[in-house]
């Protein structure tokens, strides 16, 4: 009697242990899986740390911006929602809103009037990843902060955590605001109730293509490997004065602006 009870306890505790380790490791294993959402093909692009440098001087007309924004939003089936619950991955704003607390008095008129492209910074220390309770937002080895739309519970903690307003929440059904006939079948549309943002075009990099906005910018945006001293981004960073958004918060953005 006594022995069988002890045996039972042994088995029971072992199975509890097994179950809990599975629970504990399941997350990590799955996170690794989702990290390879897009399998790189043979000619896929790789980097130690992807980064972007935007030459804000080169963007002159509204069309310059529109080309990039449309390319991005088309490639990723981003809905156009005409109210405060909008979704946007790439957009523009004025200097004082893009670089608050970095404004200066009596700036040149050109700078004051200039528009700046805004997107997720793919931060080195991303608060959005830190706060996400499900690992739906995670950082890849190449520095890209990616998302698993199927795991996101829509708590919006990441939106509160992001100091750059880079994230959008699908308050309603985004598909109501996409022209389903013009959809890009190679990228998933999202469902209601999840958060989304720019993904540095991981799906294009995996196929050996540059990000959609970089391609559409025709030389006004540089993109490359920050860890490679020979890369184009490193060259433009060395040759130009650049700033990043909100340096004080310590996130180390991967998007640089030539002013």
């Amino acid at each position: 009697m006594k022995r069988s009870r002890r045996q039972f306890l042994k088995v029971a505790s072992l199975s509890v242990l097994g179950l809990s380790t599975q629970l504990a490791t399941g997350g990590i294993v799955n996170a690794a899986e989702t990290g390879e959402q897009y399998q790189a093909t043979e000619n896929g692009l790789h980097a130690g740390r992807w980064a972007m440098v935007i030459d804000t001087r080169a963007f002159e007309t509204p069309e310059d911006f529109a080309a990039c924004i449309n390319a991005c939003h088309k490639a990723h089936n981003v809905p156009h929602i005409p109210n405060k619950q909008e979704v946007k991955w790439l957009w523009t704003d004025k200097y004082e809103h893009v670089f608050p607390e970095q404004e200066n008095n009596h700036m040149s008129e050109a700078l004051e009037k200039r528009d700046f492209l805004l997107l997720c910074n793919h931060c080195e220390n991303p608060p959005c990843v830190r706060v996400c309770p499900t690992k739906a937002t995670y950082k890849r080895a190449d520095g890209i902060v990616a998302m698993d739309y199927h795991r996101c519970i829509g708590c919006r903690f990441c939106m509160a955590g992001c100091p750059y307003g880079a994230r959008s929440f699908n308050f309603g059904n985004p598909r109501d605001y996409i022209d389903m006939a013009e959809i890009n079948p190679e990228f998933p549309t999202r469902m209601r109730g999840v958060v989304e943002k720019c993904n540095f075009c991981v799906e294009r990099l995996a196929k050996g293509l540059m990000p959609a906005c970089v391609e559409a910018a025709e030389g006004k945006i540089f993109f490359g490997d920050l860890t490679d001293p020979e890369s184009e981004v490193r060259k433009v960073l060395a040759e130009n004065f650049t700033i990043r958004r909100k340096p004080a918060v310590g996130t180390q953005p991967g998007v640089y602006y030539i002013i």
Partner: protein
């Protein structure tokens, strides 16, 4: 003991039916949220948390406040509180349940809520928050139920309950501290980014929670033979007064740092809350001023002993206090955290009617749970002659 619910006065059932109607209204409204998503709320890309999360935060405080009875009773052997403790514990259960419902109501994909446990993420404060809230619910349910059962059979509570009670005391502090950490660790939100957020949360909880408890107990005293006891009420009121004084003091500390340092990011949320923007008062401005005045008024009514011990005045003082703390934490906190937004521009948030109705429904659930649990406690006490 659960059978006690089945034997009640007609008045009790009318009350239950009333709560049922409120819950029904909330549930019906929630159907729309299920169909259209959080689009039916006033939240936006810029103000991505709103009324739901604010109520969650306030109620975690209410839940934690039970400790203001348990701590004096068990650490200082203050016997006069023993009679009231069960009501504090049962109120905490109702409060935690409401917290959970408010979180569920706020999720974009509520059916995936368990992902928080399936993919445990120890670097996220929300992971801990979920854990400690559940733990607190279990602790209070077990402690409350077991002690009541023992009271009913007129036996001493089992020995193992003591360590659980001590644990629940520490636990109560932890739930609200963790809730504060949800906010105070966010780098881009100036109004949240303050080291005394947890201290502010605890102080406001420890005045507001016991005040709500006392107000409810005054109602119970009216409709039943239960009497919390004059001395117990006076002692608890003193605790409330100290906590409120500290709460107001902490808020003024925030105001000083924000305004005297002159750092724009720190000053902007306060100036938005109290002065609006671009020369226009926001709707919240009126609330904030009313809240500030009520907070001072409650102190004026609670600090002088002659006024504090005046039993006719006390319910009013407490109600004023509850309103003041609710405006601070249930409205101002979230709005100030998200306005101005990270671009230093203003997007106004106003809760919508469906949002408020769903919240009302959740408050109804809390009231129902507390009513039922309190009825059980009252009936047991009546039978045992410990009323």
């Amino acid at each position: 003991m659960i059978e006690k619910v089945l034997k009640g006065s007609p008045k009790f059932y009318v009350w239950i039916a009333f709560l049922g109607a409120i819950i029904g209204l909330g549930a019906f409204t929630y159907l729309f949220q299920m169909k259209y998503g959080l689009a039916i709320t006033g939240m936006s890309r810029d103000v991505s948390w709103g009324f739901y999360i604010a109520q969650f935060t306030y109620l975690v405080g209410v839940a934690a406040s039970a400790v203001m009875l348990v701590l004096p009773a068990y650490f200082h052997h203050y016997k006069k509180f023993k009679k009231m403790i069960i009501f504090g514990e049962f109120m905490a259960i109702g409060a935690v349940l409401m917290c959970m419902l408010f979180i569920m109501a706020d999720l974009g994909q509520p059916q995936r809520a368990l992902n928080v446990m399936l993919h445990p993420t120890p670097n996220s404060v929300m992971f801990y928050d979920m854990m400690v809230l559940m733990g607190y619910l279990v602790l209070n349910a077990v402690i409350g139920w077991v002690t009541l059962e023992c009271e009913r059979h007129d036996v001493a509570p089992p020995k193992w309950i003591k360590p659980m009670i001590y644990l629940s005391i520490i636990w109560a502090f932890s739930i609200h501290t963790v809730t504060a950490f949800l906010y105070s660790g966010l780098p881009g939100r100036h109004y949240f980014l303050t080291a005394i957020m947890a201290a502010r949360f605890l102080s406001s909880a420890f005045c507001a929670g016991p005040s709500i408890l006392l107000l409810l107990l005054f109602v119970v005293r009216k409709v039943t033979d239960f009497n919390p006891g004059k001395e117990a009420v006076q002692t608890l009121t003193k605790i409330i007064t100290y906590a409120m004084a500290i709460n107001v003091f902490f808020f003024l500390l925030e105001v000083f740092t924000a305004l005297y340092s002159g750092i724009p990011g720190h000053a902007h949320p306060l100036s938005y809350l109290f002065a609006g923007h671009d020369g226009h008062a926001a709707w919240i401005t009126g609330f904030m001023w009313v809240g500030a005045i009520l907070a001072l008024l409650s102190l004026a009514l609670l600090i002088p002993p002659s006024l504090r011990d005046n039993e006719n005045l006390l319910p009013w003082s407490l109600a004023i206090l509850v309103l003041a703390t609710w405006i601070d934490k249930g409205l101002g906190l979230i709005i100030g955290g998200f306005t101005p937004n990270v671009f230093e521009t203003v997007t106004v948030y106003t809760p919508t009617v469906p949002e408020l109705l769903i919240s009302l429904g959740i408050f109804g659930v809390g009231a129902l749970v507390v009513s039922i649990l309190w009825k059980i406690a009252l009936d047991v006490k009546k039978e045992a002659g410990t009323l």
